[in-house]
Assembly symmetry: C2
């Protein structure tokens, strides 16, 4: 058995894990401080030794989520280099992969209602994540003739919106809104068509 600290060992982490499970199961609304504490085998009051309160716990989950998210995006970007096209496509895949593999984090980040500017630390790590997408978009856009080149921020926004929409509508157990296509295929095809529209992929490719 791993070394334990004072009493519980690593309650902070245990609370984060418990809260993640609850968020995954019941959505951001279904999560309560008390239940997370109970899941971690601890009194609700104990939570206050590690977090300022409910919102602080959610914010910490979001922060960890953005951290992982940014790492994945950066890794994907590097994987695609030196091709700016491959890098761009890889970040798109990474987005969806993150949402699938870390649904609780994703919810805490985008649906929990906590502000991305809640703390400077949170804002910074979120910016790191989005920065990767923007960088990939900026480099890719250099391949477009200047006269028909949309602002790179615009087209990273497009990819982000498409990815987010696919996640929300089709990648979740969202009741009643099922697609006949796997979300991965849907997103990949969508980005492919989009890039063709920008003239970045050959029409017959």
């Amino acid at each position: 058995m791993a070394k334990r600290g004072y009493h519980h060992g690593d309650l902070r982490r245990a609370l984060v894990d418990a809260a993640l499970n609850l968020i995954e199961e019941k959505g951001p609304t279904g999560f309560t401080l008390s239940e997370a504490a109970k899941l971690a085998g601890v009194t609700p009051a104990a939570v206050y030794r590690h977090f300022e309160g409910r919102d602080d716990l959610i914010a910490e989950i979001a922060r960890q989520g953005f951290e992982t998210f940014a790492d994945l995006m950066e890794y994907a970007y590097d994987t695609g280099q030196p091709s700016s096209l491959a890098s761009f496509e890889a970040t798109g895949h990474a987005y969806l992969a993150f949402a699938r593999r870390h649904p609780g984090h994703y919810v805490a980040m985008f649906e929990s209602g906590i502000s991305i500017n809640r703390t400077p630390e949170l804002a910074q790590v979120a910016q790191r994540a989005f920065g990767v997408l923007e960088k990939a978009a900026a480099e890719l856009s250099k391949n477009i003739p200047p006269d028909r080149r949309p602002p790179p921020q615009m087209f990273s926004a497009h990819v982000w919106a498409l990815s987010h929409g696919v996640v929300e509508l089709f990648a979740r157990g969202a009741p009643g809104t099922k697609s006949p296509f796997p979300p991965e295929d849907l997103l990949e095809a969508g980005i492919g068509i989009y890039l063709r529209g920008l003239g970045l992929i050959d029409r017959d490719e």
Copy 2:
């Protein structure tokens, strides 16, 4: 003053309006039955004369929302006829216009957690709305050579996802996630690039 019914006149409608205002202001979480009743100038218990409970009230709001949404989509579609391209683009605009003009309805429909299959009536009206988009996509796709034509359901899914993503990320007062572009422009440009990618708009147009 308009004719009043028994006591309140039209409490059912007043409750829906009150709930809509609350949802717009505070999100789906912030809405409570008691507060909606209070806003309508009535005791919480009175709500049960008109709705089975909290969820039933939300579902009714979603139903009305889908009704309006479907009407707008159909109107937009008709406006674009006989050009399938114009019809398709018009439904895209209608999507965003609806989300902007009826934010409370939009939230009740897509973010409240109520299932689209809660009642057959709700499922039916939702299907009517999405059916317009699918029809527009199907007609448009006839202009694409069969060998490079993606399934029309796929491409209505793309437009839906892009629209939803733009709404969620950029069209709302979502804290911290602002785009330097108006959501309308963002969506229009995105759909334009996408249609170019499908070969439905000339590259130089």
